[in-house]
């Protein structure tokens, strides 16, 4: 149910940005979620709709892009996608890794007029 809190913070950013840019209507909100954050898009969209009800973002479309979990091996430098929760380099088998993507909770942009 963390979707609700995240939707509240998102709607605050959307409305602040729209105000600053003097938009009269927000038509689309573009979001990026990493696979690891386990957001349920349907619940998130529902929560977002509730938080922007009767605002200039009331009718905005919500577009959610889910990005896969990608890691970089610290030992050999290989980039790889994590499949079935296997956090291990597929070249040198090291488990010393940095995350490249998969934890995002980003607002990419808004569209409006």
């Amino acid at each position: 149910m963390h979707e609700i809190k995240i939707a509240e913070d998102l709607s605050a950013i959307v409305l602040e940005t729209a105000k600053r840019e003097s938009l009269s209507k927000v038509t689309r909100v573009n979001i990026i979620f990493g696979q690891l954050v386990q957001i349920v898009p349907e619940i998130f969209e529902y929560a977002f709709r509730e938080t922007v009800r009767d605002t200039i973002a009331n009718d905005a479309d919500v577009f959610i892009e889910i990005v896969p979990v990608k890691m970089k091996c610290i030992k050999c430098g290989n980039d790889f996608l994590v499949k079935e929760n296997r956090f291990k380099c597929n070249v040198c088998f090291s488990t010393d890794l940095d995350i490249i993507s998969g934890k995002e909770l980003f607002i990419k942009s808004i569209e409006g007029e």
Partner: protein, 217 residues
Amino acid sequence: MEIKIMKNILDRNQNKADEVRKLLELKKVLMVNVISSPGAGKTTLLERTCEELGEKFRLGIVEGDITTDRDAQRLKKYNIPIVVINTEGGCHLDSHSISKVLGYFDLDKLDVLFVENVGNLICPSQFDLGETFKLALVSTTEGDDKPDKYPMLFREAKAVLLNKIDLVPYTNFNYNNFRSDLKKINANIPLFEVSCTRGDGLKEWFDWITEKINNFQ
């Protein structure tokens, strides 16, 4: 017209968490964010930990609870500072609520602050509280599939406690499945297999957390 923003939606929470972390580092207070399902044994773990470490270190506890103060009542007997945060239905604590309650503690007189998060394996993993590290607690009665189902928590946590090992004979919990799934997600994470009611395995946990506290001083 498209307006690029490209920022973390939880920026507000993150900024406050960074502030909390800085303050606690300055005051040399180690903060442990304890995350588990409801009923896994967070409060019992804190009871045992208070009994063992209460003499050696100055402890404090933040109790995240949806509506009651029942967990805090159980911990009152240890005579340490405890503050309850009622989330009123909220499924996790956030850095703003932690920042507010830090004012109730004398941080110059604390070595460790245990935060008992709201019982839930997904939501608390997303909200940085400014903790030194997260501790994942799971119990055998929940099944052996928790790491595979909630990889974010087991990837983010600094250690895992597997509680209720005394109850394994009454469940279909499979140690091999649990250990291999955990290892797949986080190869080097310390795992403590314990029974907080019977005491099995707790010595290793006490030794580990003692070292962490000492290193933070």
